[in-house]
């Protein structure tokens, strides 16, 4: 079956291409943009990781940067909404998580307005949208309005639409997308696995069909590079310990706490990935800010125990003294007197820099392993930046630190524990699904397609049966 070519894609006024995982979706967009020498294309996707991956591909293919502009839908929407606040009705200037929903409608208002249309027409000759399965209905309305002004071509995979939340439902392909966009031939050649494990790629195509139609997946017959283990805490940690020494490895769980727990158990060999929003960073910043005196020192210890091993046990004495309201905690301590001193300073001073000092001291607890190093380091960065006086609260500073990180990107370490939501779109050499039973059909598909060389599946049963997903 022949796939859609970049030239055909580029020539359409309104078109959609469905692409299975690893089948060259980014490549299609990049090449299509490269075909269109007149004017500039606007390319929108959902995450900064997505933006980076598109930019990398465009650079790789030698497409001149004056031919395109890549941005997130959210960033693009905010840009327009915030430029005309009274007209758009925007009330949220530094949105966090669900607050982003308050940005799309204002942006849609501007795009429907003559000024929005004027700016769009002067700036771009076409629009491409990647990862369309992640579009919420509200975002879809925005894209449709842009499509009224510019030719619009979208790509996505209904089977990877895992960002479905109650307050912001996702687009439905048959109801919302297909009536509006011409469907071109799917992309289904598994390029990602060509240099890794061809057999795995082909097997995954079959899995795709099964998952899409609700058929069970038999894990008793597996191709090369795929293995199955029965679910237990030991099998999970074993699979991680015994993963290949060469190449990147991702271990995938369902819930954030589960992921953090595994990371802790693995004693730092796997780093836990923080979610982009940095909700924990924000809430801990707030906690530091709103606490005072001994309460604040206790918060520092609690924060440290969330991020590294050994602290919860080693610093119990100090914590107990603090909870009793004692002022002179360093007194009479045999171990960790300096840490106690640092925490005393935290209690006595208003300055956040004392927290930073204590954090550095706590790092000296012997044999401790920081498994949430991203969170830990971001907190240090936040406190340092707060000192420059650029922002009024610690939480605001934290937001900015995460925002920058979101845009600049971060290199996942060689061994990561994460969740499907965070690793969608990323590529690794080896993937370990820690509990296939907890994942929905779509989540399972995303998880299983992360590794290009090998896949390990841990589940309570060796026959996986998932409900037919909504598409």
């Amino acid at each position: 079956m022949h796939e859609t070519t970049p030239q055909i894609f580029a020539s359409k006024e309104r078109a959609v291409v469905i692409a299975a995982a690893g089948c060259g979706k980014t490549h299609l967009i990049a090449e299509a943009v490269g075909c269109q020498k007149d004017g500039r294309q606007l390319i929108l996707t959902h995450t900064h990781a997505g933006v980076r991956s598109l930019r990398d591909k465009l650079k790789l293919l030698g497409v001149s940067s004056r031919l395109f502009c890549v941005d997130t839908i959210a960033g693009f929407a905010l840009k327009y909404a915030i430029s005309f606040p009274k007209t758009s009705g925007l009330s949220m200037f530094m949105p966090v998580s669900s607050e982003w929903n308050e940005v799309y409608e204002p942006a849609t208002r501007i795009i429907s307005h003559s000024i929005g249309k004027h700016i769009l027409r002067s700036s771009y000759s076409g629009l491409y949208v990647d990862e369309y399965q992640d579009c919420t209905l509200i975002q879809h309305e925005l894209i449709k309005k842009i499509a009224d002004v510019l030719p619009c071509r979208i790509v996505g995979d209904p089977l990877q639409g895992i960002f479905d939340f109650e307050d912001s439902p996702l687009v439905n392909w048959s109801k919302d997308i297909l009536p509006y966009f011409e469907r071109l031939p799917d992309l289904c050649i598994p390029y990602r696995w060509k240099n890794g494990n061809n057999a795995l790629g082909d097997w995954l195509l079959d899995i795709r069909n099964s998952l899409a139609s609700g058929k069970p997946i038999d894990l008793r017959k597996l191709p090369n590079g795929v293995q199955y283990f029965s679910l237990s805490e030991k099998s999970q940690t074993d699979a991680c310990y015994h993963c290949p020494k060469v190449g990147t490895v991702v271990a995938i769980h369902k819930m954030p706490d589960q992921a953090h727990f595994v990371a802790r158990k693995l004693n730092g060999t796997f780093i836990s990935m923080e979610e982009i929003e940095g909700k924990d960073l924000l809430s801990w910043s707030e906690k530091f800010e709103q606490s005072s005196s001994n309460e604040r020192s206790i918060a520092v210890i609690d924060f440290a125990s969330k991020c590294m091993t050994r602290v919860s046990t080693e610093l119990t004495t100090i914590k107990k003294k603090l909870m009793k309201g004692k002022k002179n905690i360093a007194l009479g301590l045999s171990k960790y007197a300096s840490i106690a001193g640092g925490l005393e300073e935290v209690a006595n001073s208003n300055e956040f820099t004392t927290i930073l000092k204590s954090m550095v001291l706590i790092e000296q607890v012997p044999k401790r392993v920081i498994f949430r190093s991203e969170l830990w380091n971001d907190m240090k960065r936040t406190i340092k930046e707060y000192g420059t006086g650029a922002y009024s609260t610690l939480r605001e500073t934290a937001w900015k630190v995460r925002d920058r990180g979101r845009i600049l990107g971060r290199k996942p370490s060689n061994r990561t524990v994460s969740r499907t939501l965070l690793i969608k779109g990323l590529e690794f050499d080896h993937a370990i699904v820690l509990d296939a039973g907890q994942l929905s059909a779509k989540e399972l598909y995303v998880a299983m397609t992360r590794g290009s060389k090998s896949l390990t599946i841990i589940s309570s049963s060796n026959i996986l049966k998932k409900e037919v997903p909504v598409q």
């Binding site: 502009c69 005309f84 606040p85 007209t87 003559s114 000024i115 004027h118 700016i119």
Partner: protein, 570 residues
């Protein structure tokens, strides 16, 4: 491109100015030092692509650099390039005829950009695009400002006839590469053929130079000799200018040079540019001015690319030709510059007496008699105190009778010109607006006591000898019959009966007042401009009045004319 509004603060003589609506063709008129040229300067500095404008303390209002200069020009019909997202599209504002500027565009508004030039005490100019959402503004580069396509024809014409930087020719030229290469070749060729070292005198002096230098320790690496300096061709592209055959255009007369430069400006206008012209009439004959204005208006009204013209003028021809809707009166009071439009009601008045708008104050004379009298009084008073009406900035204007003269006075006064109306008092009631309204509007109304015409007043107040002079003068011009028949008829007698000797009349037949009244009445009723109602007659009349000055100083005639004098010389 169209400028929609200009706002100036603290620039030279302008402490503040807001000029909200600009039409397609704008002619700024106003007395000297009304700051009209400063307005053009402000617009030029803000929109031109120059970046190295030298500012100094004197450019600040009252020469006080702590009064930061701010000029904001809001432009519509922006080139698409500048409306891009990454340029200034997101900073656009809205504009419509009714509301003026809406900071966030409403549906149906034109999308405009506000360009701000700001100079503070550091003297460094900063150009930004501003709006209420973003008061700091975002920088606009000189390359972007080039897209505004602004040209100014000011004092220096010659630069526009060459390809000097900033000239119109240079703006019209997109590719300079070939010209650049040619310039380099010219330089090299000049160097090659110059053999200054073959000229003995020069060579000898070069040798002397070498000796003098080495005496003080400077040793040449080769030898000193005279040669062509590459600086000889300075000004780069300025060295290329247009020639008619072998003659450079800069040798043409000023009028021709200006017309050529104006023609070039207009070809820029065809791309939607904004043209600034100082003294559009400069060096041009009346017919040339009229033709120019016609073509100018055509060029900015192209359907494909609408441009705009802002010019200054001191010419009544320009004022009459353009029509009031294009005139903008500029006035400066205590640093506040006002730019006002001229109501279309004034069209007829302005067409008839365009020079009235060019004075500082206006003296409206009811008819030709009054006008003529004023002109001779002007000569007298100038002799007396050295200052003429012109010196005092008084525009002397014919009113065109009643009620036109009251109307004119009222209209002209409404434009902000201090005005005076010099009228007969025989038809005061017919004055529209009424005398009371005129007074209320601050217009000085000078009229005779009693309900008499000027002719009657003169007849009543001049000394007897002066009356005789007047009648003799009239008889000289019009003949005895035309003059004495009406007078006799007023007296109820026939000329054949009483003769034409006034003294005789006074002594034997009538009393003086009867005679005077008759003369006055006859003069007033004379039809078809037969008696005084011509300006030169009025002037002669004025001369007679002047001769009689001492005799009339206590009379109404003298008193009113003195009142006139003090208004003029206030």
């Amino acid at each position: 491109m169209k400028i929609r509004s200009v706002k100036i603060s603290n620039f030279r003589g302008i402490r503040e100015m807001e000029w909200p609506i600009l039409g397609t063709v704008n002619c700024l008129i106003g007395p000297r030092d009304s700051t009209k040229t400063t307005v053009l300067d402000a617009i030029e500095y803000t929109l031109s692509s120059r970046w190295n404008i030298p500012f100094d303390d004197s450019d600040f209002y009252l020469s006080e650099p702590n009064n930061t200069i701010e000029i904001i020009v809001t432009l519509g019909q922006i080139p698409e390039e500048l409306m891009r997202e990454e340029k200034f599209g997101l900073h656009a504002r809205g504009w419509n005829q009714k509301d003026g500027i809406n900071d966030e565009p409403k549906e149906g508004d034109e999308h405009v950009l506000s360009v701000r030039l700001r100079v503070d005490s550091t003297l460094e100019p900063q150009w930004t695009i501003v709006n209420d959402r973003n008061k700091d503004g975002v920088k606009i580069s000189y390359k972007d400002r080039e897209l505004f396509g602004l040209t100014r024809l000011g004092q220096e014409v010659d630069k526009h006839l060459s390809w000097m930087r900033g000239s119109i020719l240079s703006q019209l030229t997109s590719n300079r590469r070939d010209a650049s290469a040619m310039l380099s070749r010219v330089l090299r060729a000049a160097r090659d053929i110059a053999e200054f070292d073959k000229i003995d005198d020069l060579r000898n002096i070069a040798q002397k130079t070498k000796d003098a230098a080495s005496h003080l320790g400077v040793k040449p690496s080769t030898d000193y000799k005279p040669a062509f300096d590459s600086r000889g061709i300075t000004g780069g592209f300025g060295a290329i200018s247009i020639h008619d055959g072998k003659i450079p255009l800069r040798l043409l007369g000023l009028g021709s040079r200006r017309l050529i430069a104006l023609g070039l400006q207009m070809s820029c206008a065809e791309r939607g540019s904004i043209l600034l012209i100082d003294e559009v009439e400069n060096a041009l004959e009346p017919y040339a001015i009229i033709h120019l204005l016609h073509i100018l208006q055509q060029s900015v009204n192209q359907p494909t690319a609408e441009g705009q013209v802002i010019m200054t003028s001191h010419s009544s021809i320009v004022i009459a030709e353009l029509g009031v809707d294009k005139l903008k009166i500029v006035r400066s009071v205590n640093g506040k510059t006002e730019v006002s439009a001229v109501n279309s009601d004034l069209q007829a008045t302005v067409r008839s007496v365009p020079e009235s708008l060019l004075g500082r104050k206006i003296l409206v004379c009811e008819g030709k008699t009054e006008y003529g009298i004023c002109r001779s009084l002007d000569k007298l008073w100038t002799q007396q105190n050295g200052k003429s009406l012109a010196y005092m900035g008084v525009a002397l204007v014919e009113g065109g009778g009643v009620p036109k003269s009251s109307q004119r006075a009222s209209q002209l006064s409404s434009l902000g010109y201090p005005s005076c109306l010099f009228i007969d008092s025989d038809k005061l009631n017919e004055s529209k607006p009424s005398i009371d309204n005129l007074d209320a509007a601050g217009i000085k109304v000078i009229h005779w006591d009693d309900s008499v015409s000027t002719e009657q007043r003169i007849a009543m107040d001049l000394s007897w000898n002066a009356i005789k002079d007047v009648v003799s003068l009239l008889v000289e011009w019009q003949g005895e019959e035309s003059i004495f028949d009406p007078i006799c008829s007023k007296l109820g007698r026939k000329r054949s009966d009483i003769g034409t000797n006034l003294d005789d009349w006074k002594n034997r037949i009538f009393n003086e007042n009867q005679i005077r009244d008759a003369i006055g009445l006859a003069a007033k009723e004379a039809k078809d401009n037969k008696w005084f109602k011509r300006i030169d007659f009025g002037e002669e009349l004025g001369n007679i009045i002047i001769k009689d000055w001492n005799q009339i100083s206590g009379e109404d005639l003298g008193l009113r004319l003195l009142e006139l004098k003090s208004w003029i010389y206030a």
